[in-house]
Amino acid sequence: MTASATQIAADVRARRVSAAQVCRDALARIDAANPRLNAFLQVFHDRALEQARAIDARMARGEDPGPLAGVPVALKDNICLEWGRTTAGSRMLENYESPFSATAARRLIDAGAVIVGKTNLDEFGMGSSGENSAFGPTRNPHDESRVPGGSSSGSAAAVAAGLVPVALGSDTGGSIRQPAGWCGIVGVKPTYGRVSRYGLIAYASSLDQIGVLAGMVDDAALALSVIAGPDPLDATSARRELEEFTHDPSTPPPSLVIGVPRQARAASHHAAVTAALDSAINAYKVVGARIVDVDLPHTDHALAAYYLVAAAEASSNLARYDGIRYGRRSSPAREGEAGEVPESSRAEGGLLDLYCRSRSEGLGPEVQRRIMLGTYALSAGYYDAYYLTALRARRLVKTDFDAAWAAGCHALLLPTSPGPAFRLGERADPIAMYLEDVYTVGVNLAGLPAVALPGGRAGEAGSRLPVGLQLVGPAWQESSLLRAARLLEAANPVPRTATSAPASS
């Protein structure tokens, strides 16, 4: 593994190492591993070194470049950056160059981070495996025949392979936590509104949240402290005081109450998931935490509600990709290659015809499937039966969590997925794929913060795949949630080196 972000920043600030050297090492690791992993869609060789040299120049002038001084960071490619391209993993935005940077990216840069590249993802964040990228799937560094999870597939693989210590992702229904779990790393999905989404390419706006993937809880907390906070450019970012999420590790744990939902166990789970849960429960007991049983009776309904709400919002958000103002436009030469333009659109002439062909050529199958599902759920005659029903079920999901907090739980312990990573191509059926998200989507519906962390390993030695656990907390309680995660990280250590990762330099 690469050195931690915390360590790199401390070394650069103490001038024990130059940011340029750290950057060159990271770029070399990426160049060596990326042909196999396809974790990065773009690597900013020149620009990153320029940024790193500027950090070193500031150090030489006696300035402090910030808490992430010289730390190489990767951005999921649905986060806008004013250099390079921002593709969202889609042919629709294959050549899109954003004229602005996302607030989260800007804050990282202002804190001294060096942006080394943009990472692969399921198109527009729609997927749980990384296989839905228009630019090819990302591979799991622990076993390259397997998926890393998604949709923050490249960010998770890059951190797990030790290419970068920290990467940004986004989590709409588990897109940070599920790949973190399958790649054996830490993933933080902050409270809805904690991190500005200005410059995040929208998928489902009532659920989307930018967060962090990192090798350890401290690094994730450090990066979160930098990107969190209100932003005048995002009206949904909460106007709350800035918080420091990093803690002195010697802080004694408070009397911690961990709720374990009845639904966290199921006969259909992989045995390693159950074992990870037991191991974490024991570890918490050893350090004096109290374990209580709780019930999240609407866990299964959350999945159905999520896919309706997310698809409905996606169908609306992605209406902007019309081939007119930016993104892909179907060229007349391609006419006939796309499918049949619906008759009602054809009759209206050239413009609608162009919309339909541009969208069908530019958007991948899973994105089109969700747009179709969402359009159906919002259409006249079906709105009440599907969309409104899903919103009512969403209320019940939130009520389940509220009851757990009212019962005194500081956090809930759940798996991130029912099993470890599957092989590429193994989940062809959409429902089977959606079922992988059963433990993650409820958190987004309720807008809560959650931290995924390594729980254990599945399989024989030599092919031991990570399984992940997550701690879910009440809204705005990232600070105590991260403390509970740190406690588990220390009490229940899990080996994290990805077997096929190149040696770090």
Binding site: R325, P342, S345, M372, L391, L396
Partner: protein, 108 residues
């Protein structure tokens, strides 16, 4: 639950998607399966459960009415897939090119 091919085409028209016959059949099967899964929501007692569309705590946030920076026209035009330069008098400049909108429309 079953969907007809015509229903799939109707949804595709609303979604502005051009589907091949093969895609119509595939989405017919996929949507039927996914909507079938959603049927489990019907078993819930939703009486008293108010629709929850948004969990954000910011409601009707008002900001000061101050002009901020905007992207220059040139930047926006550079992003457009097709532009056209020309015109007469005050209407001279660079424009985003679109197919004919009125009067039956033409090709792209």
């Amino acid at each position: 639950m079953a969907l007809s091919a015509d229903e799939v085409r109707r949804v595709a028209a609303l979604a502005r998607l051009a589907l091949t016959q093969e895609q119509v059949e595939r989405y017919r099967a996929d949507l039927a399966a996914v909507l079938g899964y959603m049927e489990r929501l019907r078993g819930l007692d939703l009486a008293g459960a108010l629709p929850l569309a948004h969990v954000g705590e910011e409601v009707n946030r008002l900001d000061a009415d101050e002009p901020g920076p905007v992207l220059p026209d040139g930047v926006l035009q550079k992003m457009a897939p097709a532009t056209w330069a020309g015109g007469t008098g005050l209407q001279t400049g660079v424009f985003i090119k679109v197919p004919k909108v009125l009067g039956g429309g033409g090709g792209a």
